[in-house]
């Protein structure tokens, strides 16, 4: 069997609190990732984004991180010097964030931002060549008029267009691993479909590994191959995609039960009854 692309064992992330103690936000997370679409689902504060950031190496300075294994391809991320990790980011690992409004430079044309991303990776690529690559990648994102979009500023783009520009910037250097943190939550349902199909295409065609972080359990289970359900800093359940109805953990079942549906009953929605032992089983 080939080695997985990512291996994480017993990842723990803690933050110092005001009274001097430590608050553990991620408590012993372990998983591996191949060239597949892996979903991570949970509520705000469940530790899903932090786990992704730890892999990328972009946790805040005051976070305390430890792990038994944190490996990307054949690189031991726990031992790797800062310079190595910096080279990985943007090159072999990319991250897409929720809101293009906050992630694109507001005073720079979006095409130039992609050109910059390309040339940071390799200075030998000429501006002209980088421009051509940018136009190509914008076209791959199903942007109809790449030339025109190239010259726009972020505020001149719709949310869906901005998100596609951001994805273009992240995938233009063909990373092996893409971490997408709520990539479609700010988008309309119709645009969401387009963005998902683009991501799917990238994973299939470029053999990428994708970690898809979201609070939307149903969306993730339809889109990903496997889904990790997180609660209070731990993985409480791993699901095979499309088999949500086989979820066993009461937290997962509770999350599903509290969703309204288009054809669902009009009685009061089920409320998630949190059990103390969900958070304590270590």
């Amino acid at each position: 069997m080939t080695r997985p692309l990512v291996e994480i064992q017993n990842l723990r992330i803690a933050f110092p609190t005001e009274d001097g103690s430590l608050h553990e936000a991620v408590r012993g997370v372990s998983f591996t990732l191949g060239r597949e679409k892996l979903g991570m689902v949970g509520e705000s504060g469940s530790g899903k984004s932090l786990s992704g950031r730890a892999l990328l190496g972009v946790l805040p300075d005051y976070a305390r991180m430890q792990a038994d294994v944190l490996r990307f391809d054949d690189i031991d991320l726990l031992e790797a010097p800062r310079g190595t990790r910096r080279k990985l980011r943007g090159g072999r690992m990319g991250m897409i964030l929720q809101d293009p409004k906050f992630s694109l430079n507001p005073v720079m044309r979006v095409g130039e931002q992609i050109v910059e991303a390309i040339r940071i990776g390799d200075r030998r690529i000429s501006r002209d060549a980088a421009r051509r690559t940018t136009l190509d990648i914008l076209a791959t994102m199903h942007i109809r008029d790449p030339e025109q979009v190239f010259d726009r500023y972020p505020h001149e783009l719709s949310g869906g267009m901005g998100q596609r520009v951001m994805i273009a910037m992240m995938v233009v250097r063909e990373p092996d691993l893409l971490i997408a943190d709520e990539p479609t939550s700010a988008l309309d349902v119709t645009v969401q479909l387009q963005v998902l199909s683009i991501l799917d295409e990238l994973v299939t065609r470029r053999q990428m590994g994708l970690i898809f972080i979201s609070h939307d359990l149903q969306l993730v289970s339809r889109f990903c191959d496997r889904v990790l359900v997180m609660y209070a800093g731990q993985i409480v359940e791993t699901l095979v995609a499309g088999r949500l109805n086989e979820a066993r953990h009461p937290y997962t079942r509770g999350l599903l039960a509290c969703l309204p549906t288009i054809d669902g009953p009009l009685e009061p929605l089920a409320i998630l009854q949190r059990q103390a032992d969900w958070a304590t089983q270590l």
Binding site: S44, V189, T190, Q192, P260, T261, I262, I271
Partner: protein
């Protein structure tokens, strides 16, 4: 027919050269919950903001409980309709305690017993009076949205405008807020106009809904029509298909 709690006729809103709302008309009956559905930029939020007087350049007629928006003093109008916004983090003053935030509309209107009423409202929305002395940053997103609802109810309006009231919240918290809103509508005899891009939420919350695209009304449906897939327009079918993913 009884007088509608909200009636909007031939509403057009322009931002410079852009037409954000194009000749839109609809009415909401007393006690009804009415949904406005569509993609970003379709004009649904602008309609709510116009009703509240937050938009300058508009034409048409807006009436709440028989009062014309263009002719009624703001203060009087505010006693009939209030709005709850999407982002509970942005809608509360970070340096005002919760009790002060809820009492503020009553103070502005010179109502007596503002303090007792504040405690009553805190109980009503399920937080309890101990929350009066906390600051917004000490509350979770769901608790803050409850506070925003309490503040909107402070002047006892009959109509609440809800702009994506749960889309910034976790689904478990969304269920709590939706249940709360339904309970309040029943107990207080409220009417709702709810803006949402989530058809499931609208189908659960609203008796009727209006689908919008590019500033115009696509069609208006009852909940039964939506559930029976009794749709007239291709756009509504596409929207429904995308929502079902």
């Amino acid at each position: 027919m009884t007088r509608p709690i909200l009636s909007v006729e031939n509403l057009t809103v322009r931002f410079g050269a852009t037409t954000a709302v194009d000749n839109v008309s609809f009415a909401v009956a007393p006690g009804e919950s009415f949904g406005l559905v569509g993609e970003s930029g379709s004009g649904k939020s602008t309609i709510l903001r116009t009703i509240m007087g937050l938009v300058g350049d508009w034409s048409g007629t807006v009436q709440v409980d028989g009062l014309e928006a263009a002719k009624t003093p703001r203060r009087q109008f505010a006693q009939h309709v209030q709005m709850v916004f999407q982002d509970p983090y942005a809608s509360l003053h970070p340096r005002h305690q919760i009790g002060r935030a809820i009492a503020e509309p009553m103070r502005i209107h010179g109502l007596p017993n503002a303090e007792a009423r504040t405690m009553e409202l805190l109980d009503l929305i399920g937080l309890g009076s101990k929350f009066a002395y906390r600051y917004p940053h000490e509350l979770s997103g769901g608790q803050r949205q409850r506070v925003a609802i309490a503040r909107a109810l402070a002047l006892s309006p009959k109509l609440l405008l809800l702009d994506e009231p749960t889309s910034a919240l976790d689904v478990s918290i969304q269920a709590e807020i939706l249940n709360l809103l339904n309970r309040l509508r029943q107990e207080l005899g409220l009417s709702f106009a709810i803006v949402s891009h989530n058809l499931a939420v609208v189908s659960y919350m609203c008796d009727r809904l209006m689908v919008m695209q590019h500033a115009k009304v696509v069609e208006t449906l009852t909940r039964e029509q939506l559930r029976n897939r009794d749709l007239n327009e291709a756009y509504t079918r596409d929207f429904l298909a995308a929502s079902a993913l």
